[in-house]
Amino acid sequence: MTPDVFLFWFLALLIVGSGLAVLLFTNPVYSALSLAMTMVGVAAIFITLNAYFIAGVQLIVYAGAVMVLFVMVIMLFDIKSEVQAFTSGKISGAMKLIAVGLLSGLIVGGIIMGQKSFVGELSKDAAAQVAEANSAKMKRAAGADAATKELGVALFTKHIFGFEALGVLLTAIAVGTVALARSRGGTHAK
């Protein structure tokens, strides 16, 4: 077992475990902290996939900002652990569980058995791909952040429109949330 394989399984267990914890904790504070842990695990998974910059962004944005906001809101408004954390309807609950179970089975089954699909094609010669990837990496090993630069170049040429649009979106949301947070309830006072 090479260190990389060990890392993958370790992180996979961590992610799935803390993901389940999000689902199962009845106290929202613990849910949020588990989610933060999942985010950190996902960031680590990104590093094993050589997406260093994205891993850093995952840490800064998700773990460092979004989840802090969640935790802060839960603490600020003192949202307690619930007596009844899960939906109660027996039939709808059962249907939901069945849907979830079926979906998970289908996706996993589809991935494993999908020989004809794109995924199957891709995973069949995954070894060759990895070899190629490694050789490609050797080539650009010259600069430490060549991969990040590649990302930057693609972002500012091919995806420039999305980039600008997101800028507008973020500003719009900054304005909108302030308005929302300020509102003292709706016009239909009860």
């Binding site: 260190p3 933060a36 850093g56 800064i60 460092g64 802090v68 935790v71 430490a144």
Partner: protein, 372 residues
């Protein structure tokens, strides 16, 4: 983690050593802080235990260890106990990514004098240190005390507000060096100060090629923001005694308190180290390049290993010198400036430092764009 078990072992030991170094630095810093504050305020400070009061460190440690382990009844125990443990992690993880000297070459092995070389150094450090907010929130919530909660909310709001100015001031630095990697930044700062513009090269003989000469504004903003990030005076609103007792660690005592201290001083060390790397040439020595040092070492001994050891040691010494200097500045400022009011703090962060950092970024980009 490495090519063979020997390297893996060495790397693990290295990491533990870095952590122990940080832990050891904390009592020393506490002592310096107490003596320094006494010096600034014309008092004596701790001077009874041992020479110059140096053994006070030991006495403190023993005292912390023998304190009663205490948690209030209403506290949420898992969070209450986990918070101080987590307090150690972000600062240490980030600090371990700091290159402290040139790599050591022993035979075929190359050991970097840093915990690990994340190739997106800055982004990794920012990401990891942004996790520090959880510690604060966990402690504040877990204590079940209103002072703790208020302190935690204040502290985390302050930390995230200044993270903006911090992150933005670094953009100028990245623009300057064109890399995220800390080692490459240090290498870029070697040699004499050289400006290149419009095909001319202006070189100064006596000034080093440090970032501070290119990014003075970013340096000021960055330094100020690190004060806020590590909750130090003049930005220690999280524990403004007059308002909210001791902030988020109101309910903590004994060894748990010490662990928070380690985290806090860890942030301070991280700030100093980053300051050195971005703006003061890292482990580089002004006026001399690494090659010069290696040549000088070759004059003393013939063994390649010894040359490498000497070079590494010299640069480590240079790094430590600057490091200690900045830590002293941290302490010095603490005992010189008064505390801000909370609204002033937020105003400074959002309405002064953020726009100025933005202006610095635009200016840097403009200058780079125009001269090349």
């Amino acid at each position: 983690m490495g090519h063979d078990s020997f390297e893996i072992t060495i790397n693990c030991i290295k990491l533990v050593l870095i952590f122990l170094m940080m832990v050891q630095a904390v009592p020393i810093l506490v002592w310096v802080e107490r003596r320094g504050s006494a010096f600034i305020q014309n008092r004596f400070g701790p001077n009874r235990v041992g020479p110059l009061g140096l053994l006070q460190l030991l006495a403190d440690a023993v005292k912390f260890l023998t304190k009663e382990d205490f948690a209030p009844d209403r506290a949420i125990r898992p969070l209450f106990y986990a918070a101080p443990v987590f307090a150690l992690i972000p600062a240490t993880l980030a600090f371990a990514a700091i290159p402290m000297s040139v790599p050591l070459e022993i035979g075929e092995y190359v050991f970097k004098i840093q915990g690990y070389d994340m190739n997106v150094g800055i982004v990794f450090i920012l990401g990891v240190s942004s996790l520090a907010a959880y510690t604060i929130l966990m402690a504040g919530w877990g204590s079940a005390s209103k002072f703790s909660l208020l302190g935690a909310l204040r502290a985390s709001a302050q930390v995230i507000s200044y993270e903006l100015a911090l992150g933005l001031s670094i953009v100028g630095v990245i623009l300057l060096f064109g890399t995220f990697n800390l080692t490459e930044m240090v290498i870029a700062q070697q040699g004499p100060l050289t400006f290149r513009a419009f095909g001319h090269t202006i070189s100064s003989q006596f000034l080093p090629n440090w970032g501070i000469f290119y990014q003075p504004l970013a340096a000021v903003i960055f330094f100020a923001a690190t004060f806020a990030e590590s909750n130090r005076l003049p930005f220690d609103l999280a524990e403004g005694e007059a308002e909210i007792v001791a902030g988020f660690h109101t309910e903590y005592g004994g060894f748990k308190m010490l662990m928070f201290f380690i985290g806090e001083y860890g942030h301070m060390m991280l700030g100093s180290a980053l300051m050195i790397i971005f703006f003061f040439g890292g482990y580089g020595i002004p006026g001399v390049t690494v090659a010069d040092v290696r040549q000088w070492a070759a004059g003393i001994t013939d063994s390649a290993t010894q040359i490498s050891v000497i070079t590494t040691l010299v640069h480590f010494l240079s790094f430590m010198l600057k490091f200690v200097l900045f830590l002293w500045i941290f302490i010095w400022v603490r005992w010189t400036l008064p505390r801000f009011r909370y609204d002033q703090l937020m105003d400074l962060g959002w309405k002064t430092m953020l726009p100025w950092a933005l202006g610095n970024t635009i200016l840097t980009a403009l200058v780079i764009y125009l001269i090349s």
